[in-house]
Subunit: 704 residues, 2 copies
């Protein structure tokens, strides 16, 4: 990995294969940029028709250089590009950046050429960036292996932000938006077709750069989640926040992504859970990346989500309160002392409850900000402050407002965001070092993002069980219900009282032993969907009925040619609500646990939370609060609160079980889980475990 | 109303009471503005200490003017303002604009002064704007009775947009955002404390101005919905779209609004339904007002919501598809002919399915837009086009892109929105007359808004029944269940088969007559919550049990001291799903109907749609599609689709009943409504009608 860091991000020498004298052409731009940025390494233009190029000695071929360059930028196209990569690999170049397009993105033939380049590179131990990439740019060293026109449009400035993107367009856009806000950007890297090097590889490399304080990613496909997870763990350790845009959130987006990159779509809700698990904040688009950046860089680390709103317009106070609620921020309740202090400093018609309307009196009293803000600094109820100035400009002492605001932010250490739609006003605040936005939605979005991300990174990282799961039967495919229940019970999951019977007499005895009404269900790994075949009898009240059900089901199994593994006699288990816990192995992300509303309509209603193990009990409880059935779980209309603790406990155990048995367990489906009132537990009534392999996994949903 | 139009918006003479020589002071600014804007009426500064002011003759008092002015702007404060209003009223001024603050917004004393000014004005037939208002500005006539500093910051230009706002800050902000986009604004009016004239009054007046093509409103409280509805009806007739921001959407916002204006909060979901009913589009904030304005003014009237996305970045195509889905737009499926045409014109590595990725080849072939766009114009599958240019600037022929785009928009008549975050690029498109946005979220938000608003305004307006409801019993308070069911049945609502019995023998006979299992429920207007008192017996299978239940409930009623109005014997009615239909009279908006998921948890789950009568059957069906139970209604997991038509029919009938009986019926609550498979109807099982007045309305929810 350190190899990639050196060779791709900080090479000591660079050849440009297909160099151009014209600094506005793709082959000329990287050379012009590197000369302008003061690249300190050795730069070798290669162009057989020139001796000299942009003031540098020019060579006819790689073979003519005085040394083997550490990096080669391949501008030439088609077969020439392939030949150049072969040449680089043969000569010991360590990293080739293939700018040329027309490969994997064009169809089978281009794909084959691309695969060939990758194979050649890998065989020689050379890393390949691209093809079809905008390239790499490190403004810390001046190594600009990129043709982005935006570095001309918006002059670069080295700084604390790094951008790594699959897409060159998004890399450039993120760079531009950050520079527009006056932020310094050190790394701007695009991976293009990702024949070899992917976003996670460069993210890992960039995360080693101690000057990087904020890492922004754009991905359409998470191809190597393990490396991304390792990068996130490293970044967390050194306090480097990572914010990612993962496009293809929707069905339409995923389809577009698949025609863009040809990659298989990640299941979006799993992506969401994966990123959350690893403390990576997911942003909607590159704009959101740029909007929150000033906050991260100013060291916003709010203790909570309680907001104070200050404005010189009452209407902005109202809309700010609306927007706060929509961003999940709460309006801080100020102390009596604070309100008295505010009342003493504000005109009589101002509002001293939060939101604080300092009114148009700001026009005549420019000191109102410096009067009001220090009062807030002393109130522990405020985690962050939002100032909205919808009317300002001529007649207002904006310089002073900005100075007072910046001083308050410094002194209090609290995050402060300002919204001012007038660019002339925003500029003054921005120059004073205040995070400034066009409107309240953007400002509160940034505050909410940093607050959410801070809280996410504060969560302790739970540890996975390391021992292999106990009692895991040999073989592949589906376990029957009895074996499934037994496996879960062995891992501490409460399951319904039941007996597996192989004769009518055993069934009678089981009924007597269990007492009360029972369910009778045929037990065969060949028939996961029992009720469809009339293999379930519910609520049987006497031994004769149980015996009759046994006999009927036993012979039906035989008639179906299904394995007669037994008939389950189980106590009728009642609960207040039917919940579900499921788990499966995602092909990209590994174990994923689902927990939420159960019953027949689990797929249609989709009211479940997804979690990537390992996760703590408290995380499940929090995730359940976000479900639509949350009011039912909390108790409503005289019904008691339900035992979410017990449900969370099952989810944690299932997460541990599928993780520890990841090689063997493909899926677990518990539905319904009968949920009782708080303190009275949760009981799994129906279970299906899939050991994968030859056995097929049935569609999720209830089966008995 | 025409009075207000003339006196407030187009006065022939204006006095400024408290005029100032200084054009930067509140008392000087309106005079300076009017002179600059070429106000053609007669302008009279009043200031006892001057003879001449800003080049105009100045007067000591209203009494000294050569005429009674049509309008007076009251700048002086406190008691002087009150005296000025009294003077104006006494002398026959037709409209007083009271800029001064320190009245209703400061407490009881200020409120009393404000009420006094209103009473004085009303007694004299004078209209009062404010107090505590930024004032009125008509750039069509140059009558600028406003002190907004923004008219200095951003030079005015007369044009097709009108802004009417409770808040001066929001009026100014909307003005500024529109002017920033280069749009002309004719009216900018703020109503302030609304002692007399409210937003709806001025909205009505402004809607009479034939030059106004787009009317934007900001409200924190809808005080006179009838006038707003009349304005909307007039505007719809003349094709004038109205877009409103109604702040106080959330609990926090409503609380802030109440401290800002002191007004009672409107129930936000009813506001939503009311605005929809009247074809007024609700925007989130003043930014959204401004974002969609260019589209309205260009005459966007898309036939549907099918979008084509074109970009020079594949990543933007992906994110555009994501954003489209989130805005409820669909990705148009282009015809084979279109795709062939596109393939012939685009480079091989471009994508010819929608979204269309024209790739970075745009850099070398500036004609790609003019190649691609006309192909789309011929495809009927496309209702609108979104072009995203995330990378451009130096090296790109932006002028040509903009020209080609504008030509396409003109020729095709289809809405076209462009996103370009680089202001230098956006400017070129804007100058060419193309609606241009900072990012895809804003662009697609604007397209989705105009598409939604267009569809809303295309819906035929249903007509309310005009006859009084039949069978409405005399009296007040709750009807018992039998009377409630009878009233509904009389209005065509299918209700459960039932008999009202007053003896055990009658109950036996009812059982025999109804056949099958029945429910037995005590019937007394005194006991709406029957099950809490053990007054419900379900699923009784024989006549003896029915007779016993009758006897038990009858005597229990007597023991409770409740009216013994009978005992209901009703057929046990099963359905696939428990739905609900409710209706009540909102204190501000009148009749409101709720329809959706029923059962015990109706309040906790809140999965119901609100509609303001009159509404058509199809509107209910559409609203039901937005509910979380929509998949269940549509049929899932082998279950049939449910009879939403029958449910919609009940909602329409209930809407007609409560509207026709608005004076008499306070609330109707039908829960559960047993919903069968499509074609098999819906049946009301439990009903409660409240005639209001002395009787109390029980909390919503099931009762039996």
């Amino acid at each position: 990995m350190t190899d990639l860091l050196t060779a791709a991000l900080n090479p000591s020498s660079i050849a440009v294969i297909g160099a151009s004298e014209n600094p506005h052409k793709i082959g000329g731009r990287p050379i012009a940029y590197m000369q302008r940025m003061g690249y300190q390494g050795r730069l070798y233009p290669i162009n057989p028709s020139r001796r000299e190029l942009q003031g540098l000695a020019c060579y006819a071929a790689l073979a003519d250089l005085p040394e083997v360059p550490e990096m080669a930028i391949v501008i030439v196209a088609g077969d020439q590009a392939v030949a150049a990569v072969e040449d680089c690999a043969a000569r010991g170049v360590r990293c080739a950046v293939v700018i040329a397009s027309g490969f994997g993105e064009t169809g089978a033939q281009g794909r084959a050429q691309q695969d060939h380049m990758r194979d050649v590179a890998r065989a020689a131990g050379m890393r390949l960036i691209g093809p079809n990439t905008q390239g790499l740019a490190n403004f810390g060293t001046g190594a600009i292996a990129s043709f982005s026109t935006l570095f001309t449009e918006m002059p670069p400035a080295d700084g604390p932000v790094a951008v790594v993107s699959q897409s060159g367009g998004m890399a450039a856009m993120a760079y531009g938006l950050l520079r527009q806000r006056g932020l310094g950007v050190r790394h701007v890297h695009a991976t293009g077709n990702e024949a070899d090097v992917r976003v996670a590889d460069l993210a890992w490399a960039v995360a080693q750069d101690p000057e990087v304080k904020l890492l922004l990613l754009y991905l359409e496909h998470i191809a190597n989640p393990a490396l991304l997870a390792a990068t996130a763990a490293h970044a967390r350790q050194r306090g480097l926040p990572i914010v990612a845009v993962k496009a293809g959130r929707t069905a339409g987006g995923a389809q577009a992504a698949s025609s863009h990159t040809g990659a298989l779509a990640n299941e979006d809700r799993v992506v969401e859970a994966f990123l959350r698990r690893h403390g990576i904040w997911r942003a909607r688009d590159p704009h959101a990346l740029a909007l929150a950046a000033p906050g991260y860089l100013q060291g916003w680390r709010p203790a909570g989500r309680r907001l104070v709103i200050v404005s010189n317009s009452g209407a902005s106070c109202v809309m700010g309160a609306d927007a706060a609620e929509q961003h999940g921020l709460s309006i801080a309740t100020l102390s009596e002392a604070t309100r008295r202090e505010l009342a003493a400093r504000l005109p009589g018609f101002a509002t001293t409850t939060n939101p604080i309307d300092i009114t148009a009196a700001l026009l005549s009293n420019s000191g109102l900000f410096s009067e009001v803000l220090p009062v807030l600094a002393q109130d522990d109820a405020a985690d962050m402050v939002f100032i909205h100035i919808p009317v300002s400009g001529a007649g207002y002492d904006v310089e002073r407002f900005a100075r007072d605001t910046a001083a308050f932010a410094r002194a209090s250490g609290k995050p402060v965001a300002v919204a001012a739609w007038q660019e002339s006003v925003a500029q003054v605040f921005r120059a004073a070092g205040v995070a400034t936005y066009a409107n309240e939605d953007e400002a509160l979005g940034a505050l909410a993002q940093v607050a959410g991300h801070t809280a996410l990174l504060r969560e302790p990282l739970p540890v996975l069980p390391t021992s292999a799961p106990a009692m895991l039967p040999a073989g592949e495919g589906l376990l029957n219900e009895a074996d499934s229940l037994a496996l879960l019970a062995a891992h501490g999951v409460p399951v319904v009282a039941h007996r597996l019977c192989r004769s009518a007499d055993e069934a009678r005895a089981a009924f007597a032993e269990l007492g009360g009404p029972v369910a009778v269900k045929a037990c065969s790994r060949d028939v996961p969907h029992k009720s469809e075949h009339g293999l379930v009898a519910l609520n049987l009240q006497d031994a004769d009925a149980v015996a009759a059900a046994f006999t009927q089901q036993w012979s039906r199994l035989a008639a179906m040619g299904a394995a007669q593994e037994g008939v389950l006699v189980a106590r009728m288990q009642h609960g207040r609500h039917e919940a579900m816990v499921g788990a499966h192995i995602d092909p990209q992300f590994g174990p994923v646990v689902a927990v939420g509303d159960g019953g027949k309509y689990v797929e249609a209603m989709r009211d479940v939370a997804l979690l990537v193990p390992p996760f703590a009990h408290g995380e499940v409880v929090q995730a359940l609060r976000g479900l639509r059935i949350a009011p039912l779980l909390a108790g409503t209309r005289g019904d008691p609160a339900l035992d979410v603790q017990a449900l969370a406990d099952i989810a944690v155990r299932v997460g541990g079980l599928i993780s520890a048995g990841a090689g063997r367990i493909a899926a677990i489906d518990l539905n319904p889980v009968m949920l009782g009132p708080a303190g009275q537990g949760a009981v799994v009534v129906d279970a299906l475990v899939d050991l994968g392999g030859a056995g097929t996994r049935p569609a999720p949903g209830p089966r008995s």
